[in-house]
Amino acid sequence: MTVFQRIKNLITGLLLIIGAVVLLTMPEDGFVIIAAFIMVSLLLMGLRYLFYYFHMARNMVGGKYFLFLGIFLIDLGLLTFSMTDEPRWALILYLLGFHAFSCVVNLAKGIQERHYGAPAWKVDTVQGIVNAVVFFFCLFHLRSPVYFLWVYCAGLFYSAAVRIVSAFRRTAIVYIQ
């Protein structure tokens, strides 16, 4: 990693922590903030695809797909912006989908590692179980939005920790002439 990339990871990690703390201290407005965040994300994603098209995908066979996808996402972001009445469902669906997928992947990886006799299977299995617990926790608390906020913030803290640790990791490969 370059110094710039390390600094970028560090700053992003700190911003994620600040964001999580802000959300936890303002649970009332939390959903609206998250929904607004998702809308902005859609708009940014659309712009990113447009950038991706002009930057790289225009050289690719079938690359025009990304031009249309970018335009579509920007349109979707604008549409979502006009439907702010039920922002909690966006968060609920996101969390349920994310934890269900992570649970399946972690458990499958744990099974594969156990088959290989690798000690890491325990870590992956525990991660899978934690994801399953979170998934069912969310499922049984669909009417308690504050729990979703906590789960979402826990995810933000985790992402922040990963980024900050990455910023200080040794990453260079050693070469002996």
Binding site: N59, I173, V174, Y175, I176
Partner: protein, 387 residues
């Protein structure tokens, strides 16, 4: 390529290059081991994880695709399975830097790095020779794909047709890609498995030849398709011909490593095989089957007059674990691990030196304070030992 070529065909190539039966077994075992030495496997041995030469399907599913994750993936796949052909390949003026970097990682045979790989294995262990043979053979099978997750380079669309001989006529049959990980390829119906289209540049689904499924891995396949980077120019991939060149190049490289030949020219793919040997090899390569192990095994056994044991991933694990930290570098797997780290280190350094950051940073070790990933201390210690 699969076990049939990396294990049994490599055994045959080693024999034809003049190695003994036992030496050939060590070489072909190491060549095949390159497809098995994952982090899960290494963690079981408590070996350095940076020596991983492959990633299992589930490891990939769980792999991070942030900057560090992508660099890790690229180091593994570009070093061992998709050796770049030309890190300084000419590019078009309007291409962005990011696109150029990816384009220059496209794998191909007869490149400078192929020569450097064989050179690195010279006067080293048989395990190093085996790894080099894996890398060399894969440059033929995996040509036109890059060992980094990239949609703009590795994507394959539905325009893909197999060329077959049917009652003496050459026919083109459309290839149908399915996306069932548990499904089997069916050459009879033309249904093959490939990864799902993901509209994300860095998705692991877009790593190497994932989108084209196992088409590059079958020696009998001849097909035309549109590579994502090819500007709508159709490419004919003639596996039987490429695999034959791969075999001949392995024989040449092994003769050089054994000391029979003075030089190894990556461009030279003529192994001076007898007409009978050539016919036998070409007939195995063009037979429509997804696993040619039985045919290669029979050919190998006819060459040596010895039995070739089936590949067993666990054959040397006990020896490595029992040796303990003090002496496990002198075991079979210890030598394999050192050779793997040396290959990864060399390729990463070449990519980094070309100004391409896709495989991450590489630091030259000059005997001062150790910088970089700690696992590579093993490599430094081994180099000190040989001095």
């Amino acid at each position: 390529m699969q076990l049939d070529f990396h294990y049994y065909a490599t055994y045959c190539a080693a024999l034809l290059a003049g190695f003994s039966h036992m030496e050939s077994l060590d070489i072909c075992y190491s060549a095949q081991m390159t497809d098995c030495c994952s982090r899960s496997f290494l963690s079981k041995l408590k070996a350095p994880l940076s020596a991983a030469t492959t990633q299992l399907q589930m490891e990939l599913m769980d792999a991070r695709t942030d900057l560090l994750g992508r660099q890790d993936i690229t180091r593994i796949w570009a070093s061992f399975h998709f050796l770049p052909y030309d890190l300084y390949a000419p590019v078009k003026k309007h291409w962005s830097r990011a696109y150029c970097d990816k384009y220059r990682l496209i794998c191909g045979p007869r490149g400078t790095l192929a020569g450097a790989t064989v050179e690195l294995a010279k006067d080293k262990s048989l395990q190093a020779a085996g790894i080099a043979m894996h890398v060399l053979a894969d440059t033929w099978a995996h040509r036109y794909f890059a060992g980094t997750p990239s949609l703009v380079i590795n994507n394959v669309n539905e325009y893909c047709r197999e060329i077959r001989e049917d009652n003496g006529m050459t026919v083109e049959v459309p290839v149908q890609f399915r996306h069932n990980p548990a499904g089997k390829d069916d050459p009879a119906t033309g249904e093959y498995n490939g990864t799902v289209f993901q509209a994300t540049e860095h998705s692991v689904m877009n790593l190497g030849h994932g989108r084209a499924g196992h088409l590059p891995d079958y020696s009998f396949m001849r097909y035309v398709y549109l590579p994502a980077w090819g500007d709508y120019q159709e490419i004919l991939k003639n596996n039987p011909a490429d695999y034959y060149y791969a075999f001949c190049q392995m024989v040449r490289a092994l003769r050089y490593l054994r000391g029979t030949d003075e030089r190894f020219e990556p461009d030279c793919c003529d192994a001076d095989l007898s007409e009978k040997e050539e016919q036998e090899i070409r007939s195995i390569l063009s037979k429509r089957q997804t696993d040619a192990s039985a045919d290669w095994k029979a050919f190998g056994e006819s060459l040596s007059g010895e039995k070739i044991p089936a590949f067993d991933e666990e054959r040397y694990t006990g020896e490595y674990i029992e040796a303990g930290k003090a002496s496990n570098d002198d075991t079979f797997l210890g030598r394999f691990i050192l050779a793997a780290m040396a290959q990864k280190s060399m390729v990463t350094n070449r990519i980094y030196s070309s100004g391409n950051m896709l495989a991450g940073f590489s630091v030259n070790f000059e005997g001062g304070a150790f910088r970089g990933i700690r696992d590579f201390k093993k490599l430094v210690q081994a180099a000190d030992k040989t001095k």
